[in-house]
């Protein structure tokens, strides 16, 4: 299997085209026409191209559901396991090899229903992992049941125990200790790409909640519905101020508006660690004799 010549790490010309190799061809993408996830895909390609990341160093951890499919529609290493598990796999992979660009791509059900325990604690741990939540308010792949963010913008009288009010992703991320909290809208992939690029450059855990309308099952939170309500975070907002971030969310809620942009970004001092040993030669010479001495 060994090649005659050993290729060295050559810098690869990164163009948007690169992200289409080793991926499911466009005509075989299984999202519904008009799905918000197309916007996330486009934005992600733009961000990765802009940052000149190579597909070899990218690890895309998909969630379960429509959102998780994105890992196959984009070049780069991809993995998906269980519902709600994306962040925990991402944590392990990043701990093992900090050189990888690890991106978890999951839905709101994946992240905030079954995966909320992992989400909260990954916020605390603050690994340099990017999480993009494709927030559509429904379980799309299982044909439209309520998800945690279901009912965004609906009348309060419609809520009940079996259909509780929508979950507030940014507020949970903030209170759980995430160091980068932002929101984007897949109806505007260029803007989303900007946010993703900032998230990818953040040295800790970056949460981006992306409004990604489900055109088939969510007839309420449509593109038009979002377009009428989204509003950029004002340029005067200081994202490093936690109190200001909280007030910003309160202000947007009061006005019935949805913020787009970076709401909070705080550089938590991080202890860097190295890649864990992989190849047999990196594992040579493990001398366990000092451990045995303690057991004498």
């Amino acid at each position: 299997m060994t090649d005659a010549t050993t290729p060295s790490r050559v810098s690869q010309k990164i163009s948007a085209k690169v992200w289409e190799e080793n991926a499911v061809p466009r005509h075989r993408i299984q999202w519904c026409p008009g799905c918000g996830d197309f916007g996330v895909l486009a934005g992600l390609k733009m961000a990765l191209t802009k940052l000149e990341v190579t597909p070899y160093e990218v690890l895309l951890i998909g969630g379960i559901g429509c959102s998780g499919q994105i890992r196959n529609y984009l070049n780069g290493n991809g993995f998906h396991g269980t519902h709600g598990g994306a962040l925990a796999y991402a944590l392990g992979a990043k701990m093992a090899n900090p050189g990888l660009t690890v991106i978890a791509l999951a839905g709101d059900g994946d992240t905030f229903a079954i995966g909320v325990e992992n989400f909260v604690h990954v916020c605390r741990r603050d690994p340099a992992v990017v999480l993009i939540i494709m927030d559509n308010g429904v379980y799309g792949l299982t044909k439209g049941q309520h998800s945690p963010t279901h009912g965004r913008g609906m009348d309060i009288r419609e809520w009940s125990e079996e259909a509780p009010p929508p979950f507030a992703p940014l507020r949970l991320a903030l209170t759980a200790g995430a160091t980068f909290v932002a929101q984007s809208f897949s109806g505007d992939p260029r803007h989303a790409a900007e946010i993703y690029a900032q998230a990818l450059q953040h040295p800790g855990f970056a949460v981006v909640n992306d409004f990604s309308p489900c055109v088939t099952y969510n007839k309420f939170n449509t593109y038009d519905w979002y377009r009428e309500r989204v509003e950029d975070v004002p340029a005067s907002h200081d994202p490093s101020d936690f109190q200001a971030a909280w007030e910003l969310l309160n202000d947007f809620d009061r006005r019935g508006r949805l913020p787009l942009g970076v709401v909070y970004r705080h550089p938590r001092p991080k202890k860097a660690h190295g890649r864990l040993p992989i190849w047999p030669e990196e594992l040579q010479g493990a001398d366990i004799r000092p451990l045995l001495q303690m057991m004498r």
Binding site: M1, T2, D3, T6, P7, R9, V10, E21, N22, V24, T54, P55, Y56, E57, L59, I61, Q69, R71, N72, N75, G76, N77, G78, F79, H80, G81, T82, G85, A88, Y89, A90, L91, G92, A93, K94, M95, A96, N97, G99, L100, E117, N118, H121, H273, G274, L276, P277, I278, W279, P280, E282, L283, Q284, A286, I288, R289, L291, L292, M295, R296
Partner: protein, 626 residues
């Protein structure tokens, strides 16, 4: 006079009396003195404070075959008052529970700080009783409560005529307490001396020439360690190149997590205390995906929570070693009691059909050697590898020559990983390539020249999701083929001790091997020849290797620590041979006498399923939390 062969049990109140401190000191010193120590049953409660705790040690000149029966030579009772349930019987908790197992002519040494205990029934059996007011001496004379343990150790050493000049004890105390200052060292040694003096005066007053027992050092050039199963398997994992460990606190697996947190960084690795059982195994899968040898450890309830990830690892072909230190179930069961009840879960747990390997070490030595194989097998076959120990083996300690861990160089086989040089950079790399062996070339993300797509959904050779019937068929067969390759290339036959031909065979797996061997010896003395057939490679069941052995026996008797006889079922299903069974599931360890009794019962009555281990209830109510 019995020299260099005895069983001591130290008992007291959990967390207060320092039972484990005492047995640890004894075990270390006896090991250093060249004697063999085996401590496989550890009695403690699933509560923090106040319940009864005990720790028996077998000490002998030659390595003991097994931990033997409950019979005791020496009982050390550290309780100075009592379990609240036995308030009307001060000092008697340990004595009431374990005194009945003392042999005639044995020794009882107890803390008499709150008064002497009526012991006529024991004295009638020739048991020599040494009341030592250890706590009073510590508190009133030495002004340091905790040295009461050293008073007891010193007293016991005098009873055993061991370490007359105090060299062994001084060395250990200096190592342990040097950090705390010379004064602490001195107080401990004075405490031991006072214990010695008390015993001396009792011997003189009673006119006894000695206790009837003696331990003599047998210094040996060969360095030895006193090691637990958990420690041995952790060492094995480190030696095998495991550099990521994740766990969630659970008895009795937590010790592995603590060991790894303390020691893995020195080998360039990292340990993670997951926020729950699922985060632990997922992080381990993530690390393994990134190319690192990775392991998780848990016990039954935690294994249940990890089940969905068995399928992920099997389907995405990510190697991960899963240690299950079995305890009594179901549900939370008895967290501090041992059982072999998780075999079905390891072999069959998970939906769909998952390629997996299940191993079970028999001894502390095998915890080390088999763990190295576990990591190499996980790497080669790219599947979850289960490693089934149990509470007794994991927490049990044994004297083992250091050479067991150092004499053989460890081979780290990662030959199924592809490097940059192996890739042609034309996009032709296929993570799940259909190969004759079923083993596909595995890529580490970050390797220039290829990307991997791995999915828990059914996928094609490149890892893209597919439900095409032809793809599904080929992929199922590919994964199944790995297990066929395993059976052909790496599976091990059972170890056979004695001749099987036309004789009954005792069949076992995992930690019960030493007990089976001792039962075999005892049966021989009673005129019954049996063979022992023991499995460490459990699944895929090596039928081609095992059946020719098993079918030569006149009768197969599986001996297991569970209710149904889970492994017996596996053998019946895989070999189409009837298997009778002797099972024990009352929380106590399997004793050789249990096996002897069960086997004789089967041979005389022809019964097929013998449930053993009826014990008289504890004379003192067990006070335990949930």
């Amino acid at each position: 006079m019995t020299v260099n062969r005895l069983k001591i049990l130290v008992g007291g109140v959990q967390l207060r009396d320092g039972v484990v401190t005492v047995t640890d000191i004894l075990g270390r010193i006896f090991t250093r003195a060249g004697l063999h120590v085996l401590a496989m049953e550890r009695g403690y409660a699933s509560t923090i404070y106040g319940a009864h705790q005990f720790d028996p040690l077998v000490v002998s000149e030659e390595p003991p075959v097994s931990w033997g029966d409950p019979r005791l030579d020496i009982l050390v009772a550290l309780d100075y008052d009592s379990n609240p349930d036995a308030r009307e019987q001060p000092n008697r908790d340990t004595i009431l529970r374990h005194g009945r197992y003392l042999v005639d002519g044995g020794v009882l040494l107890y803390d008499s700080s709150t008064g002497e205990v009526p012991v006529e029934p024991l004295e009638r059996r020739g048991i020599k009783v040494f009341p030592v007011p250890a706590r009073t001496i510590a508190r009133d004379e030495l002004k340091l409560d905790v040295v009461k343990n050293m008073v007891a150790v010193g007293a016991l050493f005098r009873v055993l005529e061991f370490d007359q000049d105090g060299t062994w004890l001084r060395q250990l105390v200096e190592e342990r307490f040097a950090r705390k200052g010379a004064q602490v060292v001195d107080l401990n040694l004075r405490a031991a001396r006072r214990g010695r003096e008390v015993v001396e005066s009792i011997l003189a007053a009673r006119g006894w020439p000695g206790s009837g027992y003696r331990l003599q050092p047998r210094p040996s050039a060969e360095p030895r360690v006193l090691i637990s199963g958990n420690e041995a398997l952790s060492l094995g994992a480190i030696a095998a190149g495991c550099r990521f460990y994740a766990g969630y606190p659970i008895t009795p697996a937590s010790a592995i997590l603590e060991f790894m947190e303390e020691h893995l960084p020195r080998f360039g690795g990292r340990a993670l205390q997951g926020q729950n059982e699922r985060e632990s195994i997922r992080a381990a899968i993530g690390a393994a995906l990134a190319g690192v040898r990775s392991m998780v450890g848990t016990s039954g309830p935690g294994l249940s929570l990890k089940v969905e990830e068995f399928g992920v690892a099997g389907m995405t072909e990510v190697p991960v070693v899963i240690v299950d230190t079995q305890r009594a179930g179901p549900s939370t069961g008895m967290p501090t009691k041992s059982e072999q009840g998780d075999l079905y879960l390891s072999i069959f747990g998970g939906h769909g059909e998952i390629p997996r390997i299940v191993l079970a070490p028999a001894t502390q030595e095998e915890c080390y050697t088999l763990m190295i194989e576990a990591h190499n097998l996980a790497d080669k076959y790219q599947c979850p590898v289960f490693f089934l120990t149990d509470l007794n083996l994991s927490e049990g300690r044994k004297t083992v020559p250091e050479a067991v861990f150092t004499q053989h160089p460890v081979t780290i086989d990662r030959s199924t990983l592809v490097r940059e040089a192996d890739l042609r950079r034309d996009g032709a790399y296929r993570r799940f390539a259909l190969t004759p062996t079923g083993i596909s070339p595995r890529l580490v993300p970050g390797t220039v020249g290829g990307v991997l797509k791995a999915s828990g959904s059914e996928h094609d050779e490149r890892g893209f999701v597919s439900t095409d019937p032809a793809v599904r068929k080929a992929m199922m067969e590919k994964r199944a083929r790995k297990m066929e390759t395993f059976l052909r290339e790496d599976a091990r036959p059972p170890r056979v001790v004695g001749s099987v031909d036309g004789r009954p065979a005792l069949v076992g797996w995992g930690s019960t091997l030493p007990v089976l061997l001792e039962a075999q010896q005892r049966l021989r003395q009673r005129g019954v020849e049996v063979a022992v057939v023991h499995f460490s490679y459990l699944w895929p069941f090596p039928a081609a290797l095992a059946k020719p052995v098993l079918e030569r026996a006149s009768v197969l008797i599986a001996v297991e620590q569970n209710f149904t006889g889970q492994f017996a079922d596996v053998i019946q299903a895989c070999c189409l041979l009837p298997v009778r069974r002797v099972v024990k599931y009352n929380g106590l360890p399997l004793y050789p006498a249990d096996v002897v009794g069960g086997v004789e019962h089967i041979l005389h009555t022809g019964e097929s399923h013998v449930r053993i281990g009826t014990e008289a209830p504890a004379p003192v109510k067990v006070s335990e939390g949930g």
